[in-house]
């Protein structure tokens, strides 16, 4: 019985359908299968990108910062020499533009010179408010040398203490109060020969070498001192020029050594984009992508953005902000319009062969006109991204050039235009996006580029950034056609960097 009954049941149930209210069922099912908005995913991508950028930026800074101990107080045991003098002399080991500079400047009414031979082990820490760097020489000479006096300016401008411990440790402490220095010199710009204290001619001892010639301060001092060689007094104009140069250089040095500087800017750009279409392999899709590849042409891509950038004294920078990008393409479709009309005309001619009579019958005759035309569809992809770019720049005043790289985190994508539809003969409206093929699903796009900037003034600069950006996967995974964009272009703009 079992087998017979079961066989009968199988036969009866095979292909059986039970009536269902499909409208009500669909109304209940649809809310559950509607696609969720991709915003959450975008935010996650953005935060990840931001975190990545900040982490990279911090790591760079941290590594650089480890070589410098600029703000740590330095203890020296048993200082054997502490010579507060009316004059000043200072010694700076500075890493400026990747060059180590040893500089001795100052002035004194007396000639005084302390030279201490020290070895690498003798260096403990160097503190300076302007800069300090690794001391890599196995031996170094610290020189405190009287050079000359500019009476009004020296006393409060610099003071240097050179302390050498019994254990041959050395502490070099430098405290340049640039502001006071500038004020003092500006307050007394007109130095005349009488005011300049004549003094015993002293051979200037600037500890410079070939590798140090780019030092801004040394340039100023060299110029100053070379003028001094001819006479023990300096002409007013030269004094002033030297002073100005010195002040400017100090300002630049101050900027160069400032820990962080913030810049704001606006920029625009244009790129050439490529569009790569690929099929997911569904039936008919490869033919479709081939058709689109043949008829679609990428037009210009434009960028507009504002930026916030942070510069470190280590020549690293982090750039963010917001950028609008519009990718344009032209899709051409060939269509034909067939119009049918009816005109009153002869429809039939009857020839009577016996009588030779010819009759004609008139009526409406159908005429068909085929008009072929090409329709052009301008399609636009509008993106808003948050760039998180990290860069490194080399400075060659007034230029700076560098490399940069990072990500663009997309926060909005909007399509306008239409393409031919894979599912029907009709055109698919990209803005309506009925099938949700083009919802935002970009995530993070990598970017790499160069950066060149020209300083118009101390704070203003124009910049140019040729770069390459991948704009990948604009379409969703459900879309049978995957789109990959890549753009190569240049951005240019202005930037104001705050002191």
């Amino acid at each position: 019985m079992n087998t017979e009954f079961e066989k009968h049941a199988r036969e009866q149930f095979d292909g059986l359908e039970v009536p269902v209210d499909t409208d009500a069922l669909w109304a209940n099912v649809y809310p559950h299968v509607k696609e969720e908005k991709g915003n959450r995913r975008v935010i996650v991508f953005f935060l990840l990108g931001l975190l990545l950028g900040l982490t990279a930026f911090s790591l760079f800074n941290f590594n650089q910062g480890n070589t410098i101990s600029s703000n740590q107080p330095i203890e020296s045991t048993n200082p054997i020499t502490s010579t507060p003098v009316e004059s000043t002399a200072n010694t700076t080991q500075t890493d400026l533009n990747n060059q180590t500079a040893t500089l001795s400047i100052g002035a004194t009414t007396n000639t005084a010179s302390n030279t201490t031979e020290v070895t690498e082990n003798d260096f403990t820490k160097v503190k300076t408010t302007t800069n300090a760097s690794d001391i890599k020489n196995t031996t170094a000479t610290t020189t405190s040398t009287a050079v000359r006096t500019v009476a009004r300016s020296t006393a409060s401008s610099t003071s240097v203490q050179t302390n050498i411990s019994k254990q041959d440790q050395i502490m070099i402490k430098k405290d340049i109060d640039t502001k006071t220095f500038i004020e003092n010199n500006q307050a007394a710009p007109s130095l005349n020969q009488n005011e300049v204290v004549s003094q015993k001619k002293t051979t200037p001892n600037l500890s410079t070498n070939k590798s140090l010639t780019n030092s801004l301060l040394i340039d100023a001092l060299n110029e100053n001192i070379s003028n001094q060689d001819d006479a023990f007094s300096i002409p007013e104009s030269q004094q002033k020029n030297a002073l100005d140069t010195y002040v400017n250089n100090l300002n630049r040095l101050k900027k160069a050594t400032k820990k962080l500087r913030v810049g704001l800017g606006l920029y625009g750009g244009v790129s050439k984009s490529t569009n790569e279409l690929s099929s997911n392999g569904d039936i008919g899709i490869p033919e479709y992508t081939a058709g689109r590849n043949a008829s679609e042409k990428q037009l210009e891509t434009v960028h507009l953005g504002f930026e916030v950038s942070v510069y470190t004294k280590n020549h690293l920078y982090l750039r963010s902000g917001a950028e609008y990008t519009r990718i344009a393409s032209l899709y051409s479709s060939n269509s034909s319009l067939t119009s049918t009309d009816s005109v009153w005309d002869v429809t039939e001619i009857i020839i009577n062969t016996a009588t030779g009579k010819i009759d004609s019958i008139e009526g409406y005759v159908q005429t068909t006109t085929i008009t072929e035309f090409t329709k052009k569809h301008y399609n636009y992809i509008n993106l808003i991204d948050i760039p998180v770019i990290v860069g490194y720049q080399f400075e060659y005043e007034p230029w700076s050039v560098g490399i940069e790289g990072g990500i663009y985190a997309n926060i909005s994508t909007k399509y306008t235009g239409e393409i031919s539809n894979t599912a029907s003969d009709a055109f698919y409206d990209l803005e309506v996006d009925e099938n949700k093929w083009f919802k935002t699903n970009i995530g993070i796009q990598p970017y790499i580029g160069l950066n060149a900037a020209y300083n118009l003034s101390d704070n203003f600069q124009v910049h140019f950034s040729p770069g390459f950006r991948f704009e990948t996967l604009f379409s969703t995974k459900e879309n049978p056609v995957k789109e990959k964009h890549a753009s190569l272009g240049i951005r240019a703009g202005v930037r104001y960097i705050f002191d």
Binding site: N2, E4, E6, H8, W26, Y30, E35, D282, A423, E434
Partner: protein, 183 residues
């Protein structure tokens, strides 16, 4: 609504095109409802199961590898949904004793003229666990091993439950036949 081929529906649903999703619901609900009805006693439960199964089908259609027929794949989802609907524990703990085995055999004439609806009504008189195992084994054609994996029970449990289900069916059929003869 235009009737679409299974290929069109699959492709459209993979693109999450609402038109094709609705087409799937419209075209296959009747078939899937018949499956769902066999596993439930009441229509309300079968509707719930069908709705849940359709959501599952539409969400996981991208995973459909086109191995086997589309209908079989969907039916399997309905069956799995029905099994989930009833707690697996019910198959372990549900103990039905058969008071007495029917002595008389059932003549083929007693059911040969039965239509699907009547057969479904008879099957639906079985307890949940018996009904499920009977459907899985006798109607869908799963082995006891597969049934055991699906329900989380041992093969021997599946066998014994099937035996009991068959005995129960026999009893139901005999009772039905007796009533019919009396009439």
């Amino acid at each position: 609504m235009k009737k679409h081929t299974p290929e069109e529906i699959i492709r459209g649903c993979k693109k999450q095109d609402p038109r094709f999703q609705k087409a799937l619901v419209v075209q296959y609900s009747g078939l899937l409802m018949a499956v769902s009805r066999r596993y439930t006693k009441d229509q309300s439960s079968s509707k719930d199961i069908l709705q849940e199964a359709l959501i599952q089908i539409l969400k996981s259609i991208t995973n459909y590898k086109e191995q086997g027929t589309f209908e079989a794949w969907m039916k399997r989802i309905v069956i799995n949904t029905a099994i989930k609907y009833f707690s697996k524990n019910s198959f372990r703990n549900e103990l039905y004793t058969i008071d007495d085995q029917p002595e008389n055999s059932v003549e083929p004439g007693a059911y040969s003229n039965m239509a699907a609806a009547e057969l479904m009504e008879i099957i639906n008189q079985l307890p949940d666990s018996y009904r499920t195992i009977f459907n899985l084994y006798a109607i869908e054609g799963f082995s006891h091993k597969e049934i055991g994996e699906m329900l989380g029970i041992t093969e021997s449990t599946s066998r014994s439950q099937l035996t009991r289900a068959r005995a129960s069916l026999k009893k139901i059929l005999i009772t039905k036949e007796k009533i019919r003869l009396r009439i």
